[in-house]
């Protein structure tokens, strides 16, 4: 009976790999050079076998093709992203998340790419519990690090905001607030530390510019 399960698992794996390759070829058709399609197919097939998301790889290849980036540079970027996805998945599993969701792995990969360590990614994932989405938390951390906030300060700011009971929207708006602080002349680290101090003295769930429910005007907002 064990042989049957092994056979079925192998068949299912082959089927998933074939589906991934077909999906990649369809999505990338006429968007990137054939060499990029072949490379991404291989990477996607390998990613599926290891339980990693494929969509970020496809998106990165499409982005490179749209921007007119040379094929070899697109391939290098997709390979680097695949390696970060694997590293992020490993970090998340080591933090106790047995089967991390695709968007969480992707968020972890971006955080690693922005300079956070595997331990910091794992710590953020552990800290980000309901109602916070670990994937979004990691993306916010990645953006903060990309703005120039040191990784350790980024970890402390986001983790302390979550521990203080801040809403997910407060976490999402951190990069804009850091950027605003930088516009006033603060360094990224100073801006982040200022936000951390302010959060420690503010009642949970009440950001300074919170709009009471029902009073928000549905006007578009600007990035």
């Amino acid at each position: 009976m064990r042989g049957a399960f092994v056979a079925v698992a192998l068949l299912a794996g082959v089927a998933l790999r074939l589906a991934a390759q077909e999906d990649v070829a369809t999505r990338l058709d006429r968007r990137v050079p054939p060499a990029v399609v072949r490379e991404v197919e291989e990477l996607a097939s390998s990613a599926v076998a290891r339980g990693l998301p494929v969509e970020p790889l496809i998106q990165k290849a499409i982005e490179g093709g749209a921007k007119g980036v040379p094929a070899e540079r697109v391939i290098a970027a997709v390979r680097a992203l695949a390696a970060r996805l694997e590293a992020a998945a490993g970090a998340l599993r080591s933090s106790g998340i047995e089967s991390p969701a695709a968007d969480v792995i992707e968020g972890g990969a971006y955080a690693l790419g922005a300079g956070l360590s595997a331990d910091e990614v794992a710590e953020l994932a552990r800290s980000s519990h309901e109602p916070h989405d670990p994937g979004l938390t990691l993306r916010v951390a990645a953006t903060l690090a990309a703005l120039g906030v040191p990784p350790k300060t980024t970890l402390e700011l986001v983790r302390d905001m979550i521990r203080a009971g801040r809403a997910p929207n407060d976490i999402l708006s951190l990069p804009a607030q850091v950027q605003a602080g930088m516009a006033r002349g603060a360094t990224p680290a100073q801006a982040a530390q200022g936000l951390g101090r302010a959060a420690a003295h503010r009642p949970p769930g009440r950001p300074p510019d919170r709009i009471p429910p029902g009073q928000a005007k549905p006007k578009p907002h600007k990035p």
Binding site: M1, G3, A4, A7, V8, L11, A12, A15, L16, L18, A19, E22, D23, R27, Q59, K60, I62, E63, G64, G65, A66, K67, G68, V69, R73, V74, A77, L81, Y110, G113, A114, L136, R139, V140, A142, T143, A146, L147, A167, P168, N169, L172, S173, P175, A176, V178, Q179, P207, D209, R210, I211, P213, Q215, A216, P218, K219, P220, H221, K222, P223
Partner: protein, 218 residues
């Protein structure tokens, strides 16, 4: 049609009983049966030699016809006996493999280019976002990002009078998205008003965080 003989009379004809052993009411029937049997002409029949020769010629003629034999092979029913010896796990394995193949066929990507969520879900979790770029010398500006498959033609901005300000409002799903402006169809420009991240190709992508209605965004 004559009346059939009694079973005891048939045994009499087979030599298993004698006439005296029959019951009295069957003695007459038995005697009649013996008379009829004795009246049969048992003299040997001799066939003419030519008949046998004619029969054998006809048999050989039919046997030599390849077309006839082929036709008979094709149309006549055959007795085919198939014996299978299988193990139960092989049966289950085959069934599950068929199920996996069916799942593979059903899981193939659809014609949707994005493979995206349903329209209803997208409408429920989407927020209007306004993109603005100051580019007074530009002839054409668009925005491309993870929300439109980096399609430089999908979302053109509109020039707001002669001020050099280009704007566009898009409905985006809640979450974090990366994007860049495309000026005159070839120059990719990060949004100076938004946080930027490395795009992996040596340039910068801008980041927008779209959160639920009533709260701030980037």
């Amino acid at each position: 049609m004559s009346e059939p003989f009694h079973p005891l009379v048939k045994r009499l004809l087979d030599g298993e009983l004698s006439l005296s052993e029959l019951p009295p009411e069957l003695v007459a029937q038995g005697a009649e049966a013996l008379r009829l049997l004795g009246a049969v002409d048992r003299a040997p029949v001799s066939l003419p030699a030519a008949l046998e020769a004619r029969v054998m010629v006809e048999v050989r003629r039919r046997a030599r016809s390849r077309l006839r034999r082929a036709w008979r092979w094709f149309v006549e029913p055959l007795d085919v006996e198939v014996r299978l010896r299988v193990r139960p796990w092989a049966v289950w394995g085959g069934a599950l493999a068929a199920a996996a193949a069916l799942a593979f066929l059903l899981a193939r990507p659809t014609a949707s280019p994005d493979g995206a969520r349903s329209v209803e879900a997208a409408a429920r979790d989407s927020v209007s976002v306004r993109f603005v770029l100051f580019a007074p010398s530009a002839k054409h500006v668009s925005v491309a990002g993870t929300f439109n498959q980096w399609d430089r033609d999908a979302a053109p901005l509109m020039r707001a009078g002669a001020s050099g300000v280009w704007t566009l409002t898009l409905t985006l799903p809640v979450g974090q998205h990366q994007y860049a402006f495309v000026v005159d169809g070839e120059r990719w420009v990060a949004d100076p008003a938004a946080p930027g991240v490395d795009d992996g190709f040596g340039r910068q992508n801008s980041v927008v965080a779209v959160i639920a209605q009533g709260a701030r965004t980037l």
